[in-house]
């Protein structure tokens, strides 16, 4: 890169400014949740004057009225649902990708083409028929409705397929000579060798399920079965003008996912990049 230093510095200054603008609203969620209502609507300064008062007014109310806002219930539901979805997707997709990438199957080409053909199918248009199928299964208003349908997505199979294909044949043959069966090879060879791809898929699946809004909105009826996003949305609709309270709930909802993001940011970013550079 041979641009003169001043034009590079100018461009980077613009980038920094934009990046700060992107983070600022997230910081505002946190600092504003520490303010009492009167301070928020006046907004004389970004930082709270007395954080203790804001904590007392906002967080205590949110945390101490579990019959009205069962936020830990919702948090628990979210964790249960998202972890189950992740486990299901990883297991099912890696088994399928192993078969498609490494085993001789009659008609494999057609099965693979069919699965990949659905990569671009927008999931939301399936809402009504999926609802009726779940209804037939008796899964409406149960966590199953939020878990099992997610196992049908083609993205993970595709991602892991690309990864498994790149693993050298010799390793597999050596394992076979040692008498390892297919299941052993999948578990002891394929999975450990594709940890980055599995981590990427795990995080994507977890975050996608954690942030899913339309699914729980349509498939659940009882408030105590809600996941955080729908629960918080319900809470906000009944306290729409009380920013302090709703922002405190937002903090509780956002912190776990931001922590995951900060810890796994490298995998997440790599996964995002991989998803665009396939082919």
């Amino acid at each position: 890169m041979k641009e003169p230093w001043y034009s590079r510095a100018g461009i980077e200054a613009l980038v920094v400014l934009t990046a700060l603008l992107f983070v600022a609203p997230v910081v505002l969620i946190y600092v504003t949740s520490l303010k009492p209502e009167a301070e928020i609507v006046k907004f004389e300064s970004v930082w709270p004057k007395d954080a203790r008062e804001g904590i007392r007014k906002n967080y205590e109310y949110v945390l101490k009225t579990p019959e009205e806002i069962p936020i830990f219930r919702w948090l628990g539901n979210s964790i249960l649902v998202s972890s189950s979805v992740t486990l299901l997707v990883l297991t099912v997709d890696s088994l399928a990708a192993y078969a498609l990438a490494r085993l001789r199957l009659p008609g494999k080409k057609y099965v693979f083409a069919m699965i990949i053909g659905t990569l671009m199918v927008p999931g939301q248009i399936l809402l009504v028929p999926v609802y009726l199928i779940l209804n037939k299964l008796g899964w409406i208003d149960t966590p199953w409705a939020l878990i099992v349908p997610h196992g049908a997505g083609a993205f993970g199979v595709f991602l892991l397929h690309q990864f498994f294909k790149a693993i050298p044949k010799e390793l597999e043959e050596a394992a076979m000579l040692d008498g390892a069966g297919k299941l052993r090879i999948w578990w002891n060879l394929m999975l450990p060798l594709s940890k980055p791809a599995l981590a990427t898929l795990a995080i994507f699946t977890f975050v996608g399920s954690w942030n899913d809004f339309l699914g729980p909105l349509v498939f659940l009826d009882s408030v105590e079965k809600y996941t955080l996003p729908v629960g918080v949305a319900l809470f906000q609709s009944s306290y729409s003008s009380e920013y302090g309270l709703t922002l405190a709930a937002s903090v509780i909802c956002t912190t776990p996912i931001l922590l995951i993001f900060l810890v796994f940011s490298r995998q997440i970013i790599r996964g995002m990049a991989m998803s665009g550079l396939k082919e």
Partner: protein
């Protein structure tokens, strides 16, 4: 390795194929079938085959006042088109500019900028809604507080019919630009240095290099980002549902929300399925045209 026909491998595929069949293939076929039925969930009447009646109701059923089709459907389609036309090009252009800008910074700082731009994408839509409703509020809204302090006129971000959709687009830009930035940045980094070195020898400067090397080399990735973004934009639901609930005067009531209301609040599942298929056809046609256009260039 055995070369005979070995079906045991299907054991590995079976769990996925069952889910795939049950929750992807079946719903697609079932949804299409359902769209030819009058099926109201709460009524005692059994589902009744009505042929293309649901599609006719949406598109060309004549009314006493001389209009044709479902006015709400038309309005929702129009609102969705406005969202797609505004949000998709803005998001992709902004993402491209940001990715190009970030790619010029030193490696370590690139990672920090990328991380910062991606943070909003991790936040769930209901929290995004809480935050931006506060920003956009007419009274005590953060944006209007600041506008007043700068002695500028207040803006009715969400209550003005001409403004609401633009406000949602602004918020969407903040929420969703991170993904495309990351993908485009990875694409830019994949371009071999040799191309730039050759161009430098030919005396090409910054903008020309960007125009003649980066952009052409980036085309496949850019195409992927554009198509994915447009597909996503057609299905927009959370932003208007949570922030404006489709108002004011239905100006932000998009197709997905109308489908949701029709199917799950009015219980007209057949009609909802028909509209879903219309949306699917629109998205498919749009994606095909995009692929064609980009391939030809």
């Amino acid at each position: 390795m055995r070369r005979d026909r070995d079906w045991t491998g299907y054991g590995f595929l079976l769990p996925y194929l069952m889910l795939f069949g049950m929750f992807l293939v079946l719903p697609m076929v079932f949804g299409l079938g359902l769209s030819f039925f009058r099926y109201e969930m709460l009524s005692k009447e059994p589902a009744k085959f009505v042929g293309l009646e649901n599609y006719r109701e949406a598109l060309w059923l004549p009314h006493a006042d001389g209009t044709r089709g479902d006015a709400y459907f038309r309005q929702a389609l129009w609102a969705t088109v406005r969202f797609v036309v505004l949000a998709a090009p803005l998001t992709v252009t902004f993402a491209l500019l940001l990715a190009l800008g970030i790619s010029m910074a030193p490696e370590r700082r690139q990672n920090i900028y990328r991380l910062m731009v991606f943070v909003p994408t991790m936040i769930t839509i209901s929290v995004v809604g809480i935050l931006w409703r506060w920003f956009f509020a007419d009274q005590f809204g953060l944006f209007n507080i600041w506008l007043t302090r700068l002695h500028l006129r207040e803006v009715h971000w969400l209550t003005d019919v001409n403004m609401a959709m633009k406000s949602l687009v602004l918020m969407t830009l903040w929420w969703t630009v991170g993904g495309p930035v990351v993908v485009l940045l990875a694409g830019i980094k994949q371009i071999p240095d040799a191309y730039y070195e050759a161009a430098a020898i030919d005396g090409a400067t910054g903008w020309r290099r960007c125009w003649y090397i980066t952009l052409p080399m980036l085309k496949p990735v850019l195409l992927f980002v554009i198509v994915l973004n447009v597909i996503g934009a057609w299905q927009v639901f959370g932003q208007p549902f949570i922030i404006t609930s489709g108002g004011p005067e239905r100006s932000t009531l998009v197709l997905m929300q109308y489908i949701y209301v029709t199917s799950f609040l009015n219980y007209r599942l057949g009609y909802g399925a028909a509209m879903s298929w219309l949306l699917f056809l629109l998205i498919a046609a749009f994606s095909l045209v995009q692929f064609r256009l980009m391939r030809e260039k």
